[in-house]
Symmetry: D2
Subunit: 339 residues, 4 copies
């Protein structure tokens, strides 16, 4: 914490701030400058709330320095985490591909897509049984029926099932039928849900919120880990900005930013990250080139008939093309340094 | 829905799009233009997903026209809703004041603040028992203990209790101890929670999400109403933008924007909307002047010792000053037209 | 400047950073903390570029503390500046009203609007002769012809003329025909233009850029003042965000934020700040309530035939209504404290 | 243009809107729907301003359909433009590398960097002689002296010189000493400057503005082209968002978005696009993978002593590493389809 005094702060005001710091059990370091005094605060274990100081007389600004997270950091664990999902991994040398339809619509649809996903060599199948929809009147997913279809897909194709839980009851069901719990962007700060996922023994795919800062995203992972579940994979899926040529703005700089602070793997979702079919392949290539540990891709056997997000779903042919384009890039990309 | 064809789209492509529209049970209106053809789609009851058309050959763009909400609209109910909370109201002629600390920290703190709130003539007391905190290591609220203190405040001062529910179990508890369920910004698209609140018989205060569009916010209200609870009050509390001089950017234009579409009352939260103590009074004045139905204000008897959000809490003296400043503005503001 | 070292930074790295600070002529204050060391830097006259330190070994972050502006600050001039434009003022007790059409389209249009503006008691007439248009094919203004009409308006009605200069040659012309140089949002960081305006003896109305931070806006004013022209009025006109229900998001919190740092007057533009006719009056009321020194309003005698920005222009009747609504609010608003 | 009527619009109001459309010389197509009527407008040559209709009685919304640009479009020129700068090109098969320091600080610095740039096989040297700085007190560049050094670099190393012009006089000077006029982000809508560049016979590198939409950026190029200069290269350099882990948010989706509409080449600036040294290489790789025609990179022989933007400049060693990493990616990337 650094407390910056106003230019016209009196000595008494500086002394008072130092006293408040000391009373709270911290150490105050006054640094008189040419135009104003700054007061450093040390001795704190975690982050100190700057708001305790901002309204004291003579204070111009209080600047937080310590970061509030611990478990996600490279300080705690200097080497990258490899999340194991059965015999498949995310965060290791291999590029993890998680592919499938936005929503499970029928057994036939799921199997048609799963067939293509399996054939491509991918290890993970995605598909929503419970869909968070902006409108209460939109298709909300098949529910447990969809989860049963996903379980059949696993049985038949040996793919690991990644599917979203919207609430605590949803986590119970994903634990029963799936292999990895997805927490969606809208729920990134649903702390009840994060804690429930943290008490699960199943790995968690944590999507970045629509307007989440890097710290908020990492702290959402910290929530899960603080309950004991260390198998968390982060997912960059675009953020909301003024730009209108995409549904979201895919922030690929978040991948090196995460790498510098955290040991957790991070994957990229170019489907939601753009919302446009024709952009998915180039942004998937970019995601691999920037050093992501994997991709999550929406594929549909008949995108024009999809019950949700049809505009961004790839056809089976486009999906094959994507795999053909990203693999050679992954082969030539130098692994990004951790930390 | 309007489907805009590419400049070089062939007649066959135009015809194909019209066929797809017809197959889906709608009516297609082809409008040849100087440079390109557009195809209007009518006959739909609700909104049609544009994504079904965007990837058809020759299509440049599909533009949604119909809005997906119904129950929140002035089309459905042309006069403004007045939400009753016991013998108090929001949305009527009186300016509704909801005031209290960010979090209930102790009986003494709650009573000290409630005393001042009551004295000011306000009818509503706010205070969090369950706090959604970005960090798992931050103070999370007193829980049910806090709700019991709130119930005592109601008993003693006759104030209506507005308090946040973070999940379905939280709604059960607010129903037991409080008078109005607050749904926070981070949970604006927690659809499980919205549905549970919709099955409650208690009024709901629905905060706008950090990056929620107007439509998303209104659709969140629609979720609650679609379950049968029509007593919804919207709350503008600022959105996330690039600006760093405030914690959030208070978007006061959302008040006339809501008025034009919806019959629901809307209040302004200048405390979270700015995050800065010194801005709360001027922005509260602005909120009243723009035509809001009320204000929700953070007040603390000792802001510098607050366990959360101390930087934005008003002292008791500042709160009295706020009330003294907003009342004459409310008296001179012409009621904004509905619709 | 505060330089935060990494948790695992060595003593040698800390010492090296201190050496670099000392070499640059500043003083280093090392503050060892529980988990990491921070180094305060003092002795700098202006702001120091943090980038010099961020890539030194062992450095986690360098945080700027000093602000780079001087002339705009209350430190330099503790009382508010009152800008005089002939016998009219902005920043004094009176609410300054600057009203007129977006663009001067004809003598008849200008006079019809000016008549109404004069009748309302406003002292300033606005109108563009050179329009910055997004498209090269849109109406670009009448040019010098428009300025001549404006000069006639001044002659006839005694209104002070506020009009935009797009470049250095434009400043020459405004100096010839007008009373106050407007610098538009798109040119807020056109430093050549700012410097030219700074060498003028005419007051300047400086609009906030579409994505300008508070500091960037104030530094643009500093550019003008650093050339010797101290008569600068700031204008909040909305910023670009994800929100789509308005053309821009009017950031009224910028008014108290400016007040806390600067002695310069600040006015609000609810016309560009919303882009919607029906929102102009409520947001004008909010702007006055938040403590702005004035309003700048687009008015047109026939908005539906306007050559630019017709959607946001008020009719003459609506303009009269606006004046009738904002005056009583201004009468009851307590002056916001400076600083 | 599509004009959507309110649900309760009367037949007379629909008829009135159709009359207004017809009076303006266009054709109106009324499409009665289940809940409301929409009116299509055709017969317009360019874009029609929706604002003319939005305030007519009974109108809910007017939606623009036609795009206002022409010269930049694939409709006009279906194959990609290859911009020639002497014997070098941008937009052809080769990856264009534009590298050099942020600002020219001295002959020694320029030559040290140019030596490395030449050795890497790059064809373009960048370096600012006139720097647009947020603060009037920051280093503003060496001016014409810097341009003379750049001319020497060209002489010595055969590199093409890309350098920024801040105003019309600056274009004169770049024409004298350089090979390609750079227009910076802050000047993207400095229309006087765009027009002057459009009258030049030198190619133009047009950076995207900090908050420019795709359409605004393309229209800025249209301004240049409408004056006769068709040699325009677009440059994505990040936009301003809420995210704070980078200086700007690099929006790589803009590359396929440009490709779909325009024949102009587009390059990526990962230096300004991130503002962080450690992110430049991964984002450069991503930029190449997404299909950009080139990269513009800041390199400095002693970044820690740079007079501007030191935090993002690569060392000579890092620059060599970047080249080594991006070339194999360029080799395996499939050319993105145009249109």
């Amino acid at each position: 914490m650094l407390i910056v005094m106003k230019a016209d702060a009196t000595d008494a005001q500086v002394a008072h701030v130092c006293d408040v710091v000391t009373e709270l059990g911290f150490k105050a370091h006054a640094m008189p400058g040419a135009t104003r005094t700054a007061i450093g605060l040390t001795g704190n274990q975690g982050a100190v709330d700057p708001t305790r100081f901002e309204n004291l007389p003579g204070v111009a600004e209080a600047i937080r320095v310590s970061k509030p997270y611990k478990l996600i950091t490279l300080d705690l664990r200097p080497e990258k985490t490899v999340v194991r999902v059965g015999d498949a991994t995310i965060g290791g040398d291999e590029l993890a591909i998680i592919a499938g339809p936005c929503a499970i619509e029928s057994r036939a649809q799921a199997f048609a897509v799963a067939e293509a996903v399996r054939r491509s060599g991918a290890r993970f199948f995605r598909g929503g049984a419970y869909k968070p929809r902006t409108s209460p009147y939109a298709f909300q997913g098949l529910g447990e029926e969809g989860l049963k279809i996903l379980a059949e897909v696993r049985e038949t194709y040996g793919l690991k099932i990644v599917t979203e839980a919207l609430d605590e009851a949803g986590v119970d069901l994903v634990e029963k039928y799936g292999d990895m719990i997805q927490i969606g962007a809208r729920n990134m700060q649903n702390f009840t849900l994060l804690r429930r996922a943290g008490r699960s023994r199943m790995p968690v795919l944590l999507k970045r919120g629509l307007s989440a800062t890097l710290d908020e995203w990492l702290l959402a992972a910290e929530y899960i880990m603080s309950e004991g579940n260390y198998n968390v994979v982060l997912c960059e899926r675009g953020v909301r900005t003024f730009a209108q040529h995409t549904r979201n703005t895919l922030d690929l700089a978040s991948i090196p930013a995460v790498r510098r602070i955290s040991h957790l793997p991070v994957v990229v979702d170019p489907s939601h990250g753009t919302g446009k079919n024709y952009m998915v392949i180039p942004l998937a290539c970019a995601g691999v080139a920037v050093g992501a540990d994997g991709l999550i891709i929406e594929v549909h056997d008949q995108p024009e008939k999809a019950l949700s997000d049809g505009a961004q779903a790839l056809t089976l042919e486009q999906y094959d093309q994507l795999i053909a384009e990203v693999r050679p890039i992954h082969d030539v990309v130098a692994p990004q340094p951790v930390g």
